[in-house]
Amino acid sequence: MRSLVELTFLVALLTISGAAAEPVASPDYRLTVEHRQGARFAGVARDGDALLITNLADGRLYRRDAAGEILPFGPVLPHGLDTFGDPTGPYRVERTGQSFIVAQGWTPAGQTTGPLDHALLRISEAGIATVVSSDLWNPYDFAIAGKDFIVVDSARNSLERVSSTTGARATVFVFKRLKTSGAALETLSPTEFADKQTVEFDAVPTGIAAHDGRLFVSLFGGFPFLPGSGRVVSLPDVGTPTSAKVEADNLNAPVDVAFEAPRAMLVLEHGAFAQATGWTAGSGRLLRLDLQTGKREVLLDGLTRPVSVLVFDRQLIVVSDLEGNLHFLNHR
């Protein structure tokens, strides 16, 4: 563990503060919310007419059919809280041909590391799990790139190319630490930050989307989670790029990225962090950014601990959160 602040902070996601009002959608959308008691929904993906969902609370994969019925499938995967107090388990799922690929997070605290931990897994239709690669630290999301997977490792702070046939791993890109003005942190600690020109913090990659020959990655600014310290960057989807292009900055802990249309990027902000009380309830947002004009719109506001966004089709966007909610945004 490495930190550049004297008082060390470990927990990223667990604490929330305040009571959230109901989420509010843009007038262009009609919002419906489905809640499942006790669930901690994370990944959402499309499978034909169905929706695939991962649940960190029970380590299960779920399929929600067109009628709205939700049923589990596949094995119970490792799940629990990690040593930082964050929920870990099956972060993401996607169908690939006759099987499903799962990004399985690092080992839950207090559990012995098993073969399915910190791995990219393949789940057969029969529910049998095999390991594509466990040579990963904390695979949080992935994109499909030909016969390979580009995996977001949010512990290495890197993108890793994993062969779907051999499981071989190669680092594509490591995200450098970000900087901010020390003055921005003076209210937290006058002795540690007031006289510093800059303070560094981790650029933790979270969501990834392949679009128009590039990989778009949301960077969740690490502790102290300053407002506006997150960004979305892009890289070529081939080779080993040496730099990343900043596509959007001034974001609050972006946790996922998707595309609604060419150049119409959706960014899911986890929310605002208060030093005294933690993540503020209702501070998460779904934004649409026009990469050509720079215009930003709020499609969904008032989210609490959102995790994943899916463009299901031209009419429907789905957002999951750790409170057990699925938000369905239907274009009017």
Binding site: V11, T83, G278
Partner: protein
Amino acid sequence: MWISRALFLLMVLATDASAVEQPIPDNPLIVIPGGRFIYGNDDGNANERPRRSIELEAFAINRTEITNGQYQRFVAATGHRSAYYGGHPMLGIDGRPVVGVSFGDAAAFCAHHGLRLPSEQEYERAARGTDGARFPWGDAPVDGARANHGNDICCGSDDSDGYAMTAPADSYPGGASKDGVLNLLGNVWEWTQDAYQGNERHRVLRGGAWNSDPVHLTTTYRLAYDADFRFAANGGFRCARSLS
């Protein structure tokens, strides 16, 4: 040698502990005599200066940092919120210092036991003795037998001292002060009752922690933080009582 040192510590504890009421049975208060002592440091940051001799009344201070078990008993008795890392698989172990508490949490714990947080002056007197020693054990440099510290570059953990994160509150007897108080340097930063530069929003912590580099691991470094901040994995406390 090891046994004789342990017996000496026990004797010190027995003598001092008998002088005051002990509201926390498994964490005795150690009596620190009143009198003049050296406070401040001309070689440190500007906010540590000047080094001077000041008078301080007698007080008593917990032998160890408050542990998870002691804090959990307080939570059970009062309904106060739990420590942020109380359930953490490493930081939440009983016998280790409680971390993840705000200034207010720490003050409430002490008040529940009829105690209070120590002042900065009391911390320094307990940690440096009367003659302004650099460390609780004297002027010999910090090493892994005396304190749970970090690596040389701020602010990463270091397990060369036996612990990657917090160590048991009663560990490092070789780093005890002459009065028998443990871990006044390293392990966890300790909240004091003092506001920083008169601003009560910021309270001062002292003593460095398991991830502290040599710059921060001194008995005079003043770390000021938002009093409401409760997410520090290396921020704890101990309590004190006036004896005058």
